[in-house]
Symmetry: C2
Subunit: 149 residues, 2 copies
């Protein structure tokens, strides 16, 4: 079957972009991948208004990308933290791929970059297209390392 | 250095999304990856107006993602065809990642899917996060195969 005979109404790229194509969605994922999941930490690090962040997080919970949990620090009222779901972790290669592409092609030369390093082997990790028998890195074993410019 | 001390003004994911976050950009890339590069073929397959497509293609040429070339069929006026640059091929894992994510999480069960298969080994290919010593598949050796529902 020829590529051009595939009906684009079914196109999974278009469908995926309808869910994750908004700028903040993948940026929030990058935060929760890096264990930044508490509302106030997200708000501080992303520098957006609480109302915009609340709306975006609620949409991502509805889309099945985030799980919300409550936590309470002593003497304070309960607060929310967010965690990536399995569906969100399936986007990990996309986020890593965008990150490495932005670093390679758009970065100002005098700014530091973030490298992802596999803790077990010390090797850099990359998003790549590989055959399905290749073992993928475990995100829990990947460190984000800020490199010199 | 802690993740949260990284200044997000430098964030390569945000910079990348500013360039490729628009719905049509990655969709056009998917077409040219699949050797659909002639203006009239793109227009027919994507089903968008010639003026919208022209504008998008010009933006992608300006962004260094596409190269334009002229071709002429006998007895017809010269026309344009578009080819992915090396900078565009660096986004290949992102597009494949979105495609497999959309197929896995958003597809209606009764519609066909497109599988990517490595021609040399017959194995499916996937976008994955791997260490940088893993050999990536050559896109020229990957076939898009329409599978049954």
């Amino acid at each position: 079957m020829e590529w051009t005979s595939v009906d684009l109404a079914d196109c999974p790229v278009i469908r995926a972009l309808d869910v994750v194509g908004q700028r903040w969605t993948l940026v929030v994922l990058r935060e929760v991948y890096n264990d930044v999941g508490r509302f106030e930490d997200l708000q501080r690090h992303l520098g957006i208004s609480p109302s915009v962040l609340s709306r975006r997080l609620a949409e991502m919970v509805d889309a099945g990308l985030l799980e919300r949990e409550e936590y309470r620090e002593e003497g304070r009222r309960p607060r929310h933290a967010y965690r990536a779901t399995a569906k969100a972790w399936d986007l990990y290669p996309v986020v890593v791929g965008l990150m490495q592409w932005g670093d390679r092609h758009l970065r100002d030369g005098d700014r530091p970059a973030v490298a992802l390093v596999d803790r077990r082997t010390g090797r850099r990790v990359v998003a790549a297209v590989v055959t399905d028998d290749v073992p993928a890195c475990d995100p829990a074993e990947i460190d984000a390392v800020v490199t010199a410019a």
